[in-house]
Symmetry: C2
Subunit: 274 residues, 2 copies
């Protein structure tokens, strides 16, 4: 047994043994700018949205009205890059591998550090992510095809309208996982315990009933096979707030880059309501 | 306001206001021999199975191995017609409207009182019933078509084998309720809280996957329409133990007559695990 924890694997990925804070320090140093999926197993990862204070209250109202696609698990003080509820050492300006900076709805840069873009009026939102409930499903023995094949989950725009707030409005985006019926029932039980990370599915079965024309053509992520003995099960997705922000074209916004999440000190099990 | 509770309605049915014990006394007197559905709302009703002691341990093992179709909520001492856990005043020989007496798997009589058939070696089982979870679904605003139309729930033999015990073996029987997807998801959440009355569904979607060829032709109960925007949802059913007992052809058995259940003093909410 080696008492010392290896920082990186042979493939350049951080070691899965690294605890959240050590991972964030590695990322803060600029030595890792890749995807975070599979890192710090057992700990919550979150989507990041940063908006000027003038828009933050409308966005918070939007999240409040649409808790399934937009569960806020962390909210900063205006101007503060700290998020103590999710980790005392977190610095939101440096601790994600990559960020996207947006102006008037246009992507203007993708950077590993947002010190240069930081402003005193910025409010940060961390939004729960399906990684947390997927871990609970996998630990229960429920197979997830996109995870097994190393693909991104399939996501679709629906005809389910979010409740609008200020400039924020648009359709709910859902992620889809094909499951056998017994696994679908069990997955509903498990994810119902996790309202802070999208909770129970919003739909299952016929995709047309929520406005999805072709399962083989997701709007985001990768298509996944649905076998004859499986049912497509649809969860509200954290891409919804991103799509809504892109559509609202705020003068200024920062988000995480896809797959490059905030790794927190909070355990996934603590996302369980009971 | 009339301080006195009416015993019967104009239609001859007992008043819905009658509490469980008063209802049992009315039934014990022989003045009501009809169906119990809708009576004593809020209180548990149970299926009754009475077997000679020599078969009771195998039947209990069967129930233990198959808790979804066969949830035992009451078990008597051998020879005792009492079931104090479900109601201190219960006398199982008189308190159900009608009983069926079976010999070697053949129905030999249907009677309102089993004093004449009682034996000192009989063990009684009360088995949870879907009335309890249907009440929870209806109270949550989930429509149940068979209830709305006053029909019996549709039930089907499946290709899901029960785990055998002694002479007791056979396929699981399920009940089916057509639900819209969002209601199906909610129904899974609600019934998961009620493991003692069949719990979560065992299947949803394609009936062929559990060996049901034609939903329009139930093996028991009444057919019910499944609309285009609905999913058939299948729960393990208390008819399973009855079917299994009929197949095992015990020398002697007594059961409730269909729809003529034991009304208990236990509240449905106490069937909830959490």
């Amino acid at each position: 047994m080696n008492a010392q924890v290896q920082t990186t694997e042979a493939n350049g990925r951080p070691s899965r043994d690294l605890p959240p804070e050590a991972l964030r320090m590695l990322i803060r140093s600029g030595r890792y700018q890749g995807a975070t999926s599979g890192l710090a197993p057992g700990f919550v990862q979150g989507n990041l949205v940063i908006l000027p204070k003038g828009l933050a209250s409308d966005f918070l109202a939007f999240a409040h009205q649409n808790p399934r696609p937009c569960p806020v698990i962390g909210l900063s003080e205006p101007g503060s890059p700290r998020m103590p509820d999710l980790g005392t050492s977190i610095d939101l300006r440096t601790d994600l591998p990559r960020y996207r900076v947006w102006k008037n709805g246009e992507l203007v840069s993708e950077v590993p550090d947002i010190h240069d873009d930081w402003r005193d009026d910025l409010v940060s939102f961390v939004i729960g992510c399906s990684f947390s409930f997927e871990e609970a499903l996998l630990e229960d023995g429920i197979p997830l095809r996109h995870v097994a094949s190393g693909a991104n989950v399939a996501m679709y725009r629906t005809n389910i309208a979010c409740t609008p707030a200020g400039p924020f409005a648009g359709p709910m985006v859902v992620s889809m996982r094909p499951l056998k019926a017994a696994d679908a029932i069990r997955a509903i039980q498990i994810t119902s315990r996790f309202p802070a990370v999208h909770g129970a599915p919003v739909h299952l079965g016929d995709p047309a009933l929520i406005g999805i024309e072709n399962l083989a053509k997701p709007d985001y992520g990768d298509a996944v096979e649905v076998k004859d003995d499986e049912i497509p099960v649809f969860w509200a997705c954290g891409v919804t707030p991103q799509a809504v922000i892109a559509a609202a074209k705020p003068a200024f916004a920062i988000t995480h880059a896809p797959g490059s999440m905030l790794i927190t000190d909070k355990r996934n099990s603590r996302m369980s309501a009971f």
